[in-house]
Amino acid sequence: MSTQSYLELWKLTKSYPSPKGEAVIVKDIDLRLKQGEFVTVIGHSGCGKSTVLMMVAGLTSITSGGIILAGKELDGPGPDRGIVFQSPSLLPWMTAFENVMLGVDQVFYTADRVEREQIAEYYLTLVGLGDAMHKRPGELSQGMRQRVGIARAFALAPKMLLLDEPFGMLDSLTKYELQEVLLQLWRREKTTAMMVTHDVDEALFLSDRIVCMTDGPEAGIGDIIEVPFERPRNRLEVMEHPEYYPLRERLIEFLEVHAHRKAPTVVPETAPAISKAKEKVEPELVS
């Protein structure tokens, strides 16, 4: 089982000391991701889904439990996980290119300068910033800045991609565009991805599996939904798929009704489900 999973969260718990005793944000999260899988964690704002992602990123400390990525237990942040933050978090005194180069220089320090520049240029071109890569974030629109954020994450050649509500601050048209950009890059790079969002349509369009989190305190995994749509996905086809609306309803119902239920003590066995999803995804990844 553990040999199959690429990322494994094991009894992951986060709590803060508070005047009324320990405030438990998330409790006993067990989750396994297969290599190349795109998993979305969905839940109400403040339910602790971002906390889980930030623990995987290493930016938030783990109270108990553990995270294993590619056979190694994670300890602190590192460039092996490319992160796309909600705000693009670009350094405003550097151009888009320099922002990407900052990461590339760290990861590919053995490569020579020209090669590293080529990597940065390649990813910036892929996200559609070929002409604007030497502009500073201040001169770019919010959507373009997030494109730089995506390019920066992928340019690290990370083992994993972590996306923290990456399109939360964008208008819906830009959001659609960037979802396509993200999906294209993800298919090209075959990076394992974990995304946090509260947008049901975004989750359905992008992911292989959707993990629904119950509300905090002591938030846990309430439900895991397989997304059966074939890849490569086309937004219209996905929306016309007979399963789309039932799944969408199921998700919304979960968010509305079941969200306040306490996390189940026995977490459903997910490993067989993963392999099923994987089988469906595999042909598209090759194509």
Partner: protein
Amino acid sequence: MKWIQRLGLDAVLLPLVGVFMCLIVWSGISGKSVTTKTKDDWGDVVTTTKRTGISADLPGPMETWEKSRSYILNPLAKRGELDQGILRFTWLSLTLVVQGYLIALVVGTPLGFCLGLSKTFGKMFDPIFQILRPVSPLAWLPLGMVLFLSAKIQVPGFGAYTASELAAVFTIAICSMWPTVLNTAVGVRAIPQDYLNVAKVLKLSPAKTLVKVLIPATLPYMFTGFRLSLGIAWLVIVAAEMLTGRPGVGGFLWQQYNALSYSHIILCILTIGVVGYALDRLMSFIESRLRAA
């Protein structure tokens, strides 16, 4: 007032009106020399010169100009160590200020970074900084004298420094350091968590984090500190030169006070004001260029 604005004259005209009004008040309260001739009891003519007015000894605007014109019209003249043109005095003062100011920046900026970055360092030294910060230059100078009493430092290219010069530089440095220290610390604390997360995720080395993230993010705050520090450094110069008797604008002011030549005090005050304003403008200009870059 509308027509003034329409002509774009308000920027020039209104300040002139303000200056004129101040000159009137100044003339009003200043004293005048009045020469009277009287016959005394023995029939001799006695000439007496007396100053009259609200503040009898304060020279008026015209008198100030008459007595100061040689210093202004020959700004680079050097008639003696303590009798030089006003620009020459300004230059002497500026060189001293710059030395103290640069020391303040070199010492203050790293202190500010430490204060902003480390809570332990902050807890250790912040109380000391808060206590030392309001101490007047007049209080620091004697300590500086004591500190450098037996020191005679030879700096290549600058010549030898006497104890009083070192004390003056020390006073300028320690008084003007605080805005740089505190503003840098505030700037470091104000760095958005996002930027720090980027540094953490990319595992930048401490040196690279400093150069690529911390310093650029703090730069606007640092420059505000630098600008305030320069203002204070210039403020301190008068006290430093007064007490050390060094030639310069402040030294000249004190010497002329002792020589009962009150017009020159006003000349010095105006010079100090103009130079201080020019320095502040200069720093603002550099600051705005930096922000735009």
